[in-house]
Symmetry: C2
């Protein structure tokens, strides 16, 4: 019991430091100090610094994956409701553990090959889940026929990009945020009747 809460403190300290300074620039000593234990005490829990990074990444993606699976099961056969619930799960995790998500998205490539693959497998499972719901929505005719992989990654990018700008205590409340993400993702930024432009004469090659 005591040990669990100490381990929690260690992971929180590591997530705080890795997200602020990066994994490479953080020492095990700093993590120990942040968790208020000795360096020797910290080495009781880990073999090396990388174990901390792996734990944070694994915890983050596992929690989101598990939440997403439950949300999709609850939404049963409604892909739009399912995706919407999944947006909620991901943003809820971001609110609860912003530093963990920052570490997952910016520092996971610092993992060595084996641990990196473990995280990649979980991320792939999450991606597959999202792609599956999108494909199901397309089969039901409620979602547009864009590439499900592209659509899934664009959603993931919006969710994983939150740390760069969103502050839950700012003027946009978390509920408003979720509603605005849904509005844009499902119905687009265009007013009713506005179409994605086709007519440009390649202006984006101009430069």
């Amino acid at each position: 019991m005591l040990r669990d809460s100490r381990w929690e403190n260690v992971l929180e300290s590591a997530a705080r430091l890795f997200s602020a300074q990066g994994f490479a620039a953080t020492s095990v000593r700093q993590v120990a100090e942040g968790a208020d234990i000795t360096k020797a005490g910290l080495y009781y829990h880990i073999r090396e610094k990388e174990d901390l990074l792996l734990s944070i990444c694994e915890h983050s993606i596992s929690q989101i994956l598990e939440g997403a699976r439950a949300a999709l099961a609850a939404a049963e056969d409604d892909p739009v409701a399912g995706l919407s619930a999944l947006i909620g799960v991901h943003t809820d995790f971001f609110r609860a553990r912003p530093e963990n998500l920052i570490v997952l998205s910016r520092e996971r490539d610092r993992l060595s090959a084996g641990p990196r693959r473990r995280i990649a497998r979980l991320e792939h499972a999450y991606l597959d889940l999202i792609r599956g719901v999108i494909a199901e929505g397309q089969r039901q005719g409620v979602l547009k026929a864009v590439d499900p992989t592209v659509a899934a990654f664009l959603l993931l990018s919006m969710l994983n990009g939150l740390d760069a700008w969103y502050r839950p205590d700012g003027k946009v409340t978390p509920d408003q945020l979720v509603r605005q993400i849904e509005a844009i993702y499902f119905t687009g930024l265009g007013a009713a009747g506005t179409e994605a432009p086709r007519r440009r004469r390649q202006p984006r090659r101009a430069r």
Copy 2:
């Protein structure tokens, strides 16, 4: 002339290493080796390693900002065409310099306070540009009344997230990618008549 192309090599070497290993884990010696010059030769161009990071970040955001301004000017008073051209500019830069964009988005927080502010000012100018077009589209009634800041950041997240998944030589061509981003951003993933869900009984609090 000779010096310019050597400096270009240095920045390319630095961007390659910083994006692959992170700024903190990369030594000046490695950057010099990657650019095929001596460490002393490299110090002819810089005072310290941070100068390389600043140059890469500044170049990336300046190029995008300049391209975006030109694209918007070319689109004149059509906000949808303007945003669409801006999506093209950003994805073109990503295709040309993926490593620079990775460094900008993942490593800029490694900059010390002064340089970080310089980059933040440029990023803010880019954000303001996007928000301005969105607000203009809302005034004209062609864009939906969501918070322009949220809408701008969601677009930026989709664009800055490309490095995590998109490969220009994969099955989705760059032109298809731009069209799919536009389709989702302007008209949403929902098929015609699909609405963003309102009806759920808070499933996303379930976990």
